[in-house]
């Protein structure tokens, strides 16, 4: 896919030989399924998709519902193995917030086949970096490893998907770790605390209103039973996508996956209920947080569309024009010309359901927040009224393209993009469509998106004030 101007993953470059290594899928599947009786362990080829101009993303499914995406890329002797589960804090309920995240920690604990601590020890001995992340819509486990370690990664990940053992000592100790993590990221961190306030007030019904790390009370209150129930409900092949990217032999990898995941039962998980729709916001909400901080700050959240919404690319371009780097409008205005802020930043929450367009203004000492807010409002109004210039559009697109390419530098970067797009946008290869969508954004699109979404009546503002010492 992509035009020549796209300058993406060019097929003529000697490093990109992926197609040569990916044989005809029907033959491959036939070979892998030969003699396999268990339905759960039989492969189905779904499709090949172009991943840039030279690489190909292959999609297969095991009989038990596990989706597997393969991207062969031999530019370095490494491999990245990602497992994305469609469960995050959106699947929790009040009183049990933070369970998805606590559970992510527990997944590094013992299994029926490996005692406590062995997972990390085997991974590190193989030179693998193993870690995980949880957010609103997903939980991702990943390993970046030397290519020879792939069989080990497959075995250990398949094992913990169904054989995890949950006991009191591990749950107790991990709850303490998470409580400490919460203190680190929220209770003693002024930005973390402000973000928690923002989402808690910007949303009234949707689960996005509670923090992924959970409330301290809920973290302290979890029982082994809560964790076991969560595991039974959400951790099953049908609720997961495995992404393998890097330098590996496709047939051997699939054979290993078949051997280790093929025995797992099909999904136990009931389809989670659709979260409550958030009522539209009809007035600005303003909150104050007083903290022992040396400088005041403003955190503003405008109600934004979902990641897959057709308006989102235009809003991303607007974000780039306003906040993208040192030549952006707001950096210039706040940090260079008026010197009212040390830094500014903006981002749009990449969520399945509508989230927030977050804006941060880190004020300099003694600079009034009212002046900063007036500057921000003025610039947003101007963008909504006049739109960006052609030069600003081109600049934004070039910068987004550069960021995109950097995110694709390593096998881990590619696997992350594929897993994220597969989980949030239902298409692992859609990252390239997104780049194309940015190119198609016009100045009028930006104007429309800014006018529609960046309305004062649809925002929530947290003012972070200095506590007198």
């Amino acid at each position: 896919m992509g035009s020549s101007e796209g300058n993406r993953l060019d097929p003529n470059w000697p490093g990109n030989h992926a197609l040569a290594f990916m044989g005809a899928p029907e033959v491959l599947i036939d070979r892998l399924n030969r003699g396999v009786r268990r339905r759960n362990a039989r492969w189905t080829f779904v499709r090949d998709q172009a991943f840039g101009d030279a690489l190909k993303l292959r999609r297969l499914r095991l009989g038990n519902g596990l989706t597997v995406l393969l991207l062969v890329d031999r530019s370095a002797p490494t491999v990245s193995y990602h497992t994305w589960f469609r469960v995050g804090s959106r699947n929790e309920r009040p009183g049990k917030t933070g369970l998805a995240h606590l559970f992510e920690h527990l997944m590094f604990s013992e299994t029926r086949n490996h005692p406590h601590g062995e997972f990390d020890r085997l991974m590190e001995g193989a030179g693998a970096e193993a870690n995980a992340a949880t957010w609103t819509d997903w939980t991702c486990y990943y390993e970046n490893a030397p290519r020879d370690a792939l069989p080990l990664l497959i075995e250990l990940e398949a094992d913990r998907m169904s054989n995890l053992v949950l006991r009191v000592p591990q749950v107790t100790s991990e709850k303490e770790v998470v409580a400490n993590e919460r203190k680190l990221r929220v209770d003693d961190d002024v930005e973390g605390k402000a973000l928690e306030m923002l989402y808690d007030n910007a949303f009234r019904r949707h689960p996005y209103r509670w923090p992924t790390i959970g409330s301290m009370q809920d973290i302290r209150g979890f029982t082994v039973r809560d964790c076991q129930e969560f595991y039974r409900t959400h951790y099953a092949p049908g609720n997961a996508t495995v992404v393998i990217a890097g330098d590996f032999n496709e047939q051997k990898a699939l054979s290993h996956v078949q051997k280790h995941y093929g025995g797992l039962s099909a999904s136990r998980a009931a389809k989670p209920p659709t979260p409550a729709k958030e009522p539209s916001q009809r007035g600005e909400r303003v909150l104050q947080l007083t903290a022992p901080t040396p400088t005041e700050k403003l955190l503003i959240g405008y109600r934004a569309p979902s990641f897959s919404d057709p308006h989102t690319p235009a809003l991303v371009i607007a974000n780039e024009v306003l906040f993208g780097g040192t030549s952006s409008r707001l950096h210039r205005l706040f940090c260079l010309d008026q010197e009212v802020a040390l830094s500014v930043r903006g981002s749009i929450s990449p969520f399945i359901d509508p989230g927030l367009f977050e804006m941060w203004i880190f004020l300099r000492e003694g600079k009034p927040k009212e002046d900063a807010l007036a500057l921000l409002d003025g610039e947003i109004d101007r963008l909504g009224c006049d739109g960006p210039s052609r030069r600003e559009l081109d600049k934004a697109i070039n910068q987004l393209e550069l960021s995109f390419l950097h995110s694709m530098e390593t096998a881990g970067g590619k696997a992350e993009q594929i897993g994220f797009y597969e989980t949030v946008a239902n298409d692992g290869a859609a990252v390239f469509d997104r780049l194309a969508a940015y190119r198609n954004v016009s100045a009028d699109d930006v104007k429309r998106a800014v006018t529609k979404y960046l309305r004062r009546s649809r925002r929530t503002r947290v003012e972070i004030l200095r506590k007198a010492s």
Binding site: L9, E124, P292, T293, T295, Q399, E401, K467
Partner: protein, 424 residues
């Protein structure tokens, strides 16, 4: 000409770097922060272009540029879409050869640097790190902060920055590094036309005196209100880059606190859940740099966590590392080494470090062998020779009233000093 090149056709981007053997160690006494201010002033663009137009041009090319100053080097780094390599190189050369160094920009930069010092007070981890180096190295240049402090910044004028540039940068003694989707012939031709005056850079082997550890265990509490959690750093002197103990110590430290499976992480986090992270780090430089453990326990058991870490440290230094642990650390270091070179820009960085920081080439070329041949005896001897469990600096960012008494009771503590977190 000192041009270093790492090709990669994996992606249509090119990374460029101008690496200079000058850093904060060259800051004159009382003018700490001068190297960084000068670097950032260069980054404001070349003569004939306002900062606004310079930033605009850079962004339009799909490029980014940064200046990073460390103790011993300054790196001007740029990254660009392949199709815009040549115009970016022109801009980069202008920044290096013809920086505007405008008085107005300088005044703004100074105000920004002062504001950044204030903003840093929000970051407990950064506060702890700065305070640890100051407490460990005292008046030694290794104790300086890259960004200086309010008083030192006040003493720096635009003239100082211009002199610093003329003395250290304008002479053209630097290295040029290029990595990414570009041929060697193209690199040589482009660099020759844009950097004709480049001379081979000398290594930064700054004539700094040997570092010395303060005798005994000393606690510094960085007093910050309303801390439910603490940042705890316990450390002492580490090794020199050319220390024969460096690789044995690297392996030994990895076995102790360099992995998730090591005893430090397992005892602090795995068994007790006391801290989200628990690692030990070994730094090296021309003179002995720091070795330290860092954790972030809750205030109520911060001193207990410190006591546990001290106990683990004593056991490591006195009892040494077991053979199985040593082999595990070696496997980890060798197997994971591929991630130090899986992109062209990382490979380039390693080569520039060798040239600039007086790192023996064998450390890169024969890394696996140097790690793999360390024996248990060498590792344990190196640990005992270099890591002192008696002379320790213990820094904790906490609310002093909550933790002071319990830290005074830690074994072997000779002094406890409380400093306000917003002390300049």
């Amino acid at each position: 000409m000192s041009v270093f090149f790492e090709p990669s056709d994996a992606l249509p981007i090119v990374d460029l770097e101008i690496a200079l053997p000058v850093g904060s160690l060259q800051d004159p006494a009382g003018q700490e922060g001068l190297a960084q201010l000068t670097g950032h002033l260069m980054r404001r663009g070349p003569r004939g272009l306002s900062q606004e137009r310079f930033e605009d041009r850079l962004a339009s090319l799909g490029a980014r540029m940064s200046v990073e100053v460390s103790m011993r080097s300054t790196r001007v780094r740029a990254t660009v879409l392949r199709r815009n390599l040549e115009p970016l190189l022109t801009l980069l050369a202008d920044v290096v050869w013809r920086p505007a160094l405008r008085g107005n920009d300088f005044s703004k930069l100074k105000r920004r640097a002062e504001a950044a010092l204030t903003a840093r007070l929000d970051d407990d981890q950064a506060l702890g790190a700065v305070c640890f180096r100051q407490a460990l190295f005292g008046e030694h240049p290794y104790g300086r902060t890259l960004s200086g402090h309010t008083d030192s910044l006040a003493r720096i004028s635009i003239q100082h920055a211009k002199e610093f540039y003329a003395r250290n940068i304008a002479r053209g003694a630097f290295l040029v590094g290029v990595s990414g989707h570009v041929s060697e012939a193209e690199v040589r031709s482009l660099v020759a036309s844009h950097f004709p005056k480049v001379r081979r850079a000398g290594r930064n082997v700054s004539d700094v005196p040997a570092t010395r550890a303060r005798r005994g265990r000393h606690v510094v509490i960085v007093d910050k209100p309303e801390r439910t959690q603490t940042q705890l750093i316990i450390g002492t002197l580490g090794a020199r880059t050319r220390d024969r103990n460096l690789f044995p110590l690297l392996v030994s430290n990895t076995a102790f606190g360099g992995t998730f499976s090591g005893p430090l992480m397992q005892q602090v986090r795995g068994v007790r859940g006391w801290s989200y992270g628990a690692y030990s780090r070994l730094l090296h430089s021309t003179q002995r740099d720091a070795w330290y453990m860092s954790t972030a326990p809750a205030a109520e058991y911060s001193a207990d966590c410190a006591a546990l870490q001290l106990d683990l440290l004593e056991r490591w230094v006195d009892g040494g590392t077991k053979q199985t642990e040593l082999r595990f650390a070696q496997r980890y270091l060798i197997n994971s080494h591929c991630f130090d070179r899986d992109t062209a820009s990382k490979r380039l960085e390693a080569r520039l470090d060798v040239e600039l920081l007086d790192i023996p080439r064998s450390y890169v070329d024969k890394y696996d062998q140097l790690v793999g041949r360390v024996t248990r005896q060498e590792a344990n001897n190196a640990t005992r020779a270099r890591i002192s469990d008696k002379d320790l600096t213990i820094v904790v960012v906490a609310t002093a009233s909550e933790v002071a008494t319990s830290f005074e009771r830690l074994p072997g503590v000779k002094s406890v000093e409380i400093v306000p977190f917003d002390r300049n």
